[in-house]
Symmetry: C2
Subunit: 242 residues, 2 copies
DNA sequence: CGATAGTTTGACACAGCTCAATAGGCGTGG
DNA sequence: CCACGCCTATTGAGCTGTGTCAAACTATCG
């Protein structure tokens, strides 16, 4: 009975019905029968904060959609210095087509829920459904734009501007349904101070000092180390440097 | 006569015959008749060092292949601070599909020769030839990998490591035919010290000091400010940090 | 041969790092 | 319920790598 209902409700698998990835993510490119095929091979699962999703130089044999939570993409130098090179939010696609191994490390920054499916299935669908590569190209280009924006932050901004830029990035991405006109914003930081430092190319101490500076200047309020209140996002924006 | 020969030599347009982009670039995805159609709408031209190819927030109506020379992609903050966010070498593709405006500035770092064609023609071909999007996706993912590698350099390396990393990048890209096993390498720097500084997130002076340091340590030799000799690339590599 | 643009070098200042101590939040166990 | 320990974050003091400002040097070109 479950299966019948599943297949018959407009041909959308139950698994996918409320999934963001079907609208804004890569699955939106699929025909109903393809979606069903992919859904059959998929499984939803939760990865706990701190657990590794993909190791550097590890074989990749699944792709995933991020359904909730935040994934951090990191790179590490041989002596241990680390840099976060990207954050992924729902409904981003996670995986690197056309390569067997990852050159990157993906780790759950918060508890993350994922919808994973075999690389081989997806790769096959990419060949029969050009719209899928189209979506992937769009996402790749957006990630490239984001990466290049962040390069400006890393290369040319001061510590104060970096921290403000980070808060702006989170404010923009954590709740996509928020009204962009609204001036007051509230969110939980998905990263520890150490992670923020690794994202900004700073030390923990500098991040902390810049946050307290924003606090004493009444640009933000912080509760429980993680929960941030911004009264007027334009004041924060002004400190981000752009 | 010219035209006949053109069309009949395996159907490869004369314009494209010796072009790298036909093998390693995006044009490799095209069928002969598509290549002919695109070649008809294309024109080769040379852009002088220092000239702008695409302005930030400017309409893009052509795509190009880089045939020779180096293009720098830059972003600028409102107060003038600048960051180079990418370098493009032959036979890279230049352009941003799916957006009317560029969020980036492209400028000829050296004299550059380009093969340009109307965006509309290419966009149409992308729809009838999925292989084209496939190639673009591959290039976009490589550029994304490169951008993320560079984020590590910007965020976590010292000035000395940054300069060594830059030299390694040029050595790797300037002459793709060079034997990767060969230890001695020679190349012309395609960028001024100011450009190098903008690429590394440093000042001109710091770049200069680090170069003299590499010079006095006999890792490199420099002639005429631009020509670099590396006796043993492994010694340079060791200074790049990875 | 002088003008111009790019580069190097020097002296000093300061943003951000290092090291160290303190404070706060939270779960565990008595 | 408090005490304890652990982990994360904050704050302080001093140091250092890189930036700033200024001057000298070098190549190129009319």
């Amino acid at each position: 009975m479950e299966l019948r209902k599943d297949i018959h409700s407009d041909g959308i698998p139950l698994l996918c019905e409320s999934c963001q990835a079907r609208h804004r993510g890569v699955c939106g490119a699929l025909e109903p029968e393809q979606l069903i095929a992919l859904a059959k091979a998929s499984h939803k699962h939760v990865v706990k904060e701190g657990e590794e999703l993909i190791g550097d130089a590890e074989r990749i044999d699944v792709y995933s959609n991020v359904l909730s939570g935040v994934v951090k993409l990191t790179k590490t130098l041989s002596d241990g210095r680390q840099q976060i090179v990207g954050l992924q939010f729902a409904p981003d696609f996670l995986g690197r087509p056309f390569r067997k191994e990852s050159s990157i490390n993906a780790e759950a920054a918060t508890d993350v829920s994922l919808c994973s499916f075999p690389k081989a299935t997806m790769d096959r669908m990419m060949q029969e459904q050009p719209g899928l590569e189209h979506r992937l190209l769009q996402q790749a280009l957006i990630e490239l734009d984001d990466a290049r924006d962040w390069m400006v932050t890393l290369g040319r901004k001061t510590a104060a501007e970096k921290v403000a830029s980070f808060l702006m990035l989170i404010a923009r991405n954590i709740d996509p349904s928020r009204d962009p006109e609204r001036r007051a914003v509230t969110f939980d930081l998905p990263l520890t101070r150490a992670d923020i430092a690794d994202f900004l190319g700073l030390t923990i101490e500098t991040v902390s000092r810049q946050l307290t500076r924003l606090r004493t200047d009444n640009v933000i309020r912080i509760e429980n180390n993680r929960h941030v209140f911004v009264d007027d996002i334009r004041r924060l924006e002004a400190r981000a440097g752009n």
